[in-house]
């Protein structure tokens, strides 16, 4: 038997495949690798009310790796922000579900992202504003690993630590691959944990494929971060949970035929039943 959070993560992957099937292609790799993190956050960590998506005191999520929009849309639809049926409009003409997250188009999306590095700063600004308003809402930020090649991420890292933004918890979806290949071959990130620690963030690295572990780690970070921002580096696989996509070397953006999607969805349903 799989846990309720793992089941939620699997449902997110199933709904993602329904989105990709309807359009025939999409940012599959990075949308799959982040599913377990989203399951942990929307599966109990975040203070949210899908019936009141603009609730002032809600926790916010900024998907700075904005191309993982399909993962966030699947999560939001499963939480009831909008009908599941709408997921089939991903990237269709006139859709409310574009490739990259848009807070003005999609109910439940807290920030517009897509130009990498920028969600880091907007999340930081939200955390700064909430903290200085005396609100106890938190901001969760999801960065891509390749995204950390952007200098803006490190500007934010300095600022958030200097301003003691302990209402900010960031994740790096460290799936090792970017559009052109392996991160280590393109512009190596070195030791991300040591880097963020040296920027005075409360930092830890865990396996990123277990939403229950992610949940527990977030709670631990909240307890221990003191006056520092928190960073959780998630050791993930690009395309996680779907071997057919994991095995494509360049899987940042892939085609998905209806037959492939159906086969993957059947596999995931099977996983839900048998674990």
């Amino acid at each position: 038997m799989i846990t309720p959070l793992k089941e939620f993560a699997t449902d997110i992957r199933i709904q993602e495949m329904i989105e990709f099937k309807a359009r025939g292609f999409g940012h599959t790799g990075g949308s799959l690798s982040v599913a377990d993190c989203l399951a942990a956050l929307y599966g109990g960590i975040m203070r949210i009310d899908p019936k009141n998506p603009q609730w002032e005191d809600r926790d916010r999520l900024v998907m700075s790796k904005g191309h993982a929009g399909p993962a966030l849309y699947a999560t939001l639809a499963l939480k009831g922000y909008f009908p599941l049926e709408e997921l089939k409009t991903l990237n269709q003409n006139g859709t409310k579900l574009p490739s990259h997250c848009d807070r003005n188009l999609t109910v439940g999306v807290d920030m517009t992202t897509g130009s990498l590095g920028q969600g880091a700063s907007t999340a930081c600004g939200m955390a700064l504003g909430l903290k200085h308003s005396g609100k106890d809402a938190r901001v969760y930020l999801i960065l891509g690993d390749g995204e950390c090649q952007e200098g803006q991420v490190w500007e934010m890292a300095l600022f958030a630590a200097h301003h003691k933004l302990n209402n900010l918890i960031a994740f790096i979806d460290y799936n090792k691959r970017q559009l052109d290949g392996y991160v280590k071959d393109i512009c190596d990130l070195g030791d991300l944990v040591a880097k963020f620690k040296s920027f005075n963030w409360y930092t830890t690295m865990i396996k990123g494929d277990d939403p229950d572990l992610i949940r527990q780690t977030v709670l631990d970070v909240q307890k221990n971060q003191g006056d520092r921002p928190g960073m959780i580096v998630l050791d993930t696989i690009k395309g996680a949970g779907v071997p057919q996509i994991e095995n494509i070397p360049l899987n940042h953006h892939t085609n998905v035929t209806p037959e492939e999607a159906d086969e993957i969805i059947a596999q995931l349903e099977e996983f839900k039943r048998k674990g």
Binding site: E56, R60, D102, R103, N104, D110, M111, T112, G114, S115, G117, Q118, G119, A120, S121, T122, A123, C124, G125, M126, A127, L128, G129, L130, H132, S133, G151, Q152, E155, M156, L158, F159, H162, H163
Partner: protein, 320 residues
């Protein structure tokens, strides 16, 4: 309503002193107003506000890209951000962050770029923005303003607090030519007719407003009647007043402390060519980079003087 006090003399107070006083009033009066700066508070008269208002004023350090994104995030949680840096950095350095995290994301942020055009003087080519008007105009739904003098700065800046979307303001932090009385008020998008005329219309912004008034006085003695319009809101352009004066004078000169590529002159010429075609001569920087020098020397070098305006007027009138 405004009152013209122009007599060719300089202002008594530098723009930076007025900016410091005005910014303090804004954060005092509205707890939701916040002010961000990128390590040039000491140059714009605001250093110390971050200590007086630690929940509203944030020194970001030298990281303009991050600062623009932070401003977007602050707006998204209900704050009313004002952001200041040198105009060159506000425009070139952080353009994508302004475009995406502020404008495209529909956040409400005011960006103040100081030292426009030749007023950056001894900071030279790296710091001399001739292109900021063009870049900010190109952002959909943006508002682009150039404060004509300190009286306008003090009156207009607080009223922009609740303006939706992206508003960019050019600000001279030194003493410019005094144009308006201190009790004048201004409405974004509504240009000011400073001088009526029947032969030609001069449309100017920023430091070129004073030069235009000076040119009009000289032209009058030569028998040419020139209207002068202060187009302090470059976008959205006050098309109504341009149309009115196109019908009346049938010839235009524009004057700006910026590159004529994509600037005020380009905006006026584009509108006229599609509504009331007539001669438009643009006074401004002719597609050049900046350099060090006194503002007066640089104004001569780049052709930003009343002399250039007078020549342009004569050319425009001859083309009618």
């Amino acid at each position: 309503m405004f009152k013209l006090i122009y007599n060719g003399e300089k202002e008594k107070k530098a723009g930076k002193k007025v900016f410091g006083e005005t910014m303090q009033k804004i954060v005092e009066q509205d707890p939701l107003a916040v002010y961000l700066d990128g390590d040039i508070m000491n140059s714009i008269g605001t250093l110390g506000l971050e200590k007086k208002f630690p929940d509203q004023v944030f020194e970001c350090g030298i990281q303009e890209a991050d600062m623009m994104g932070i401003a977007g995030g602050l707006s998204a949680v209900g704050k009313k951000p004002y952001v200041h840096t040198f105009a060159a950095f506000a425009a070139r350095r952080a353009f994508d962050q302004v475009f995406i995290s502020i404008a495209y994301a529909k956040n409400n942020v005011r960006i103040i770029g100081s030292d426009p055009g030749v007023t950056s003087a001894y900071n030279g080519g790296t710091h001399m923005p001739f292109e900021d008007i063009c870049l900010y105009r190109a952002i959909p739904h943006s508002t682009v303003i150039e404060f004509t003098d300190s009286a306008m700065l003090a009156s207009l800046l607080p009223t922009l607090k609740d303006r939706p979307g992206l508003t960019y303001c050019r600000l001279n932090r030194k003493e410019g030519t005094a144009i308006y009385s201190e009790d004048s008020t201004f409405e974004p998008g509504k240009a000011n007719l400073l001088r009526d005329g029947k032969d030609v219309t001069i449309v100017a912004c920023g430091m070129m407003v004073g030069e235009s008034l000076k040119a009009a006085e000289i032209l009058e003695k030569e028998g040419i009647s020139a209207a002068v319009i202060d187009m302090f809101t470059i976008k959205p352009l006050d098309e109504e007043i341009i149309k009115e004066f196109a019908d009346k004078t049938h010839a235009f000169v524009t004057a700006e402390n910026a590159n004529i590529v994509g600037g005020l002159g380009a905006a006026v010429a584009a509108f006229l060519s599609e509504s009331t075609p007539c001669p438009v001569i643009r006074v401004g920087v002719k597609d050049e980079f900046g350099q060090v020098g006194t503002p007066e020397y640089l104004a001569e070098v780049y052709g930003l003087t009343s002399k250039e305006i007078i020549e342009a007027v004569k050319k425009a009138v001859s083309m009618k």
